[in-house]
């Protein structure tokens, strides 16, 4: 009994001492936004550099401002691959073919950064999964 009470007191203290899940401040929002934008910036730099490939070709040479990448349409049936794929599969296809480079793992921070930049440049466009 004493132990339970003591536990409750402890938990009570902890509820009061830390902000709950739905309580965050304007400062938090600012911080998260700047964390996100720093990854977008990394993605932008990768997208415009020849470091992903081996032949000096970079993504922006065909996709200025990441245009004509249609992130809102993925996953979709990619007719040339004969199956439904995600945006990252197409990113890897471009790295392997026009850039003659090596593919990135799905959880590679570089892949996340590329996805962040490509999607950010497409902000405001409604989702259209499957659209060709």
């Amino acid at each position: 009994m004493r132990t339970i009470l003591a536990l409750m007191v402890l938990l009570g203290v902890s509820w009061c001492g830390f902000a709950g899940a739905d309580e965050f401040t304007k400062e938090d929002l600012k911080k998260w936004e700047s964390e996100f934008m720093s990854v977008v910036k990394k993605g932008e730099a990768l997208f415009h550099s020849s470091s992903l490939g081996k032949n000096k070709v970079s993504c922006d040479m065909c996709h200025p401002n990441a245009s004509n990448t249609h992130p809102e349409t993925y996953p979709k049936f990619q007719k040339q691959l004969g199956k439904v794929v995600g945006l990252r599969d197409m990113i890897n296809w471009c790295i392997q073919n026009p850039l003659e480079g090596e593919t990135l793992k799905a959880d590679d921070p570089k892949m996340i950064a590329l996805e962040a930049y490509i999607t950010y440049e497409r902000r405001g466009v409604p989702l259209a999964p499957g659209k060709h």
Binding site: N55, K56, P64, N65, N68, Q80, E121, R122, V125
Partner: protein
């Protein structure tokens, strides 16, 4: 001797490729006039962007595009009177790239008229180009048509001088979507030269202007734009038949402003999206243009190509030679007073791949 061998090898490869893919040039032969000596044909190759990797290595894909266009030009029958190269021969203006481009272009059996692009220019401000390739702007007369070549990719001196090295400047100009870019210009000196050049030309003489950038305004963030375009247009306005041919945009694009018809040439290297597909900024893409098909990235020559241009009655009919698509033909419609696509101009005739988003 060494050059002889490489030329023969090239032709051998070319013939094999031609046999594999028949060249649909017959269509053009029919339309180019034999009766009217003032009608003639020339070819236009543009934006090959040959990219040096290291040593003697270049990006294979872009080499292939230019070689294919050169080979097909050599198979034209009847022969073109000349071939125009529309600029962006090189990717970063390097001597290696310009030399490599000249070597491939030397296999052409026709005379070449050169237009300079920003990728050829901003490493050394056109020094090597002028020494090895061509003057930056000039004019010539051919079978009753007055041709003018302009260097339309100049920009503000302040921007030119802000970089710590020539290569930094080149790289910043080479990035199409660069927020630190600078708009293209013809500039006052050349506009004065143009006025003088056109002074003695009668107003009914057909004028064909060839520039690298479009001499009108489409989308500033990608430099589909010439800052002083209106000034150049006003110099051309008094002439009855004016055509402006340009590269740079790597896509089918055409427009009509007053008496001036504008036509873009394809790139042999890669296509660029239409600015309508970048949703964050407004654009002024001409409503007249029926878009090219969306490119299939798995076909590396898709949405690239070159043009056969037929000068008919002082107007330019453009036969886009598209390597993975049906050819497109643009012709000036006298009644309508602008260019029309011979197949797709009517909105009901358009096909789903022409939708860009």
């Amino acid at each position: 001797m060494k050059k002889q061998v490489s030329r023969r090898q090239f032709l051998k490869g070319g013939l094999a490729a031609a046999a594999a893919a028949t060249l649909p040039l017959g269509l053009v032969e029919v339309s180019w006039g034999k009766n009217n000596p003032k009608n003639f044909t020339f070819a236009y190759i543009s934006d090959s962007h040959l990219t040096h990797i290291k040593g003697t290595e270049f990006v294979r894909n872009f080499d292939k595009g230019l070689k294919k266009a050169v080979m097909e030009c050599n198979f034209m029958s009847p022969k073109p009177d000349f071939v125009v190269f529309g600029g962006d021969l090189a990717q970063l203006g390097k001597k290696e790239e310009i030399d490599h481009g000249l070597e491939i272009m030397s296999r052409l059996r026709h005379k070449v008229k050169w237009v300079v692009g920003e990728h050829d220019f901003y490493l050394d401000m056109g020094e090597y180009w002028q020494k090895k390739v061509s003057p930056l702007y000039y004019s010539f007369d051919h079978k009753g048509v007055h041709f003018v070549v302009l260097n339309s990719i100049l920009t503000y001196d302040e921007w030119v001088n802000r970089w710590s090295s020539p290569m930094e400047r080149m790289l910043n100009m080479a990035r199409l979507d660069n927020p630190n870019g600078s708009p293209f210009m013809v500039k006052e000196e050349q506009i004065q030269w143009l006025k003088k050049d056109l002074k003695a030309i009668s107003k009914d003489t057909p004028i064909v202007v060839m520039s690298h950038s479009p001499l009108y305004k489409i989308f500033k963030p990608w430099n589909f734009w010439t800052e002083d375009a209106e000034e150049v247009q006003s110099v051309l306005a008094p002439f009855q038949k004016v055509t402006v041919l340009h590269g740079h945009v790597h896509q089918i694009l055409y427009n009509q402003i007053g008496n001036i018809s504008f036509q873009a040439m394809m790139s042999t290297a890669w296509p660029w999206p239409y600015p309508v597909s970048y949703k964050q900024k407004p654009n002024q893409v001409p409503k007249l243009t029926v878009f090219m098909n969306r490119a299939d990235p798995f076909k590396e020559r898709d949405a690239t190509g070159w043009s056969i241009l037929n000068l008919e009655d002082g107007r330019v009919t453009n036969h886009y030679k598209l390597w993975e698509n049906k050819d497109r033909i643009l012709k000036y419609d006298k009644e309508k007073g602008h260019l029309v696509d011979m197949e797709y101009q009517d909105p009901s005739k358009r096909i789903p791949p022409q939708t860009h988003y």
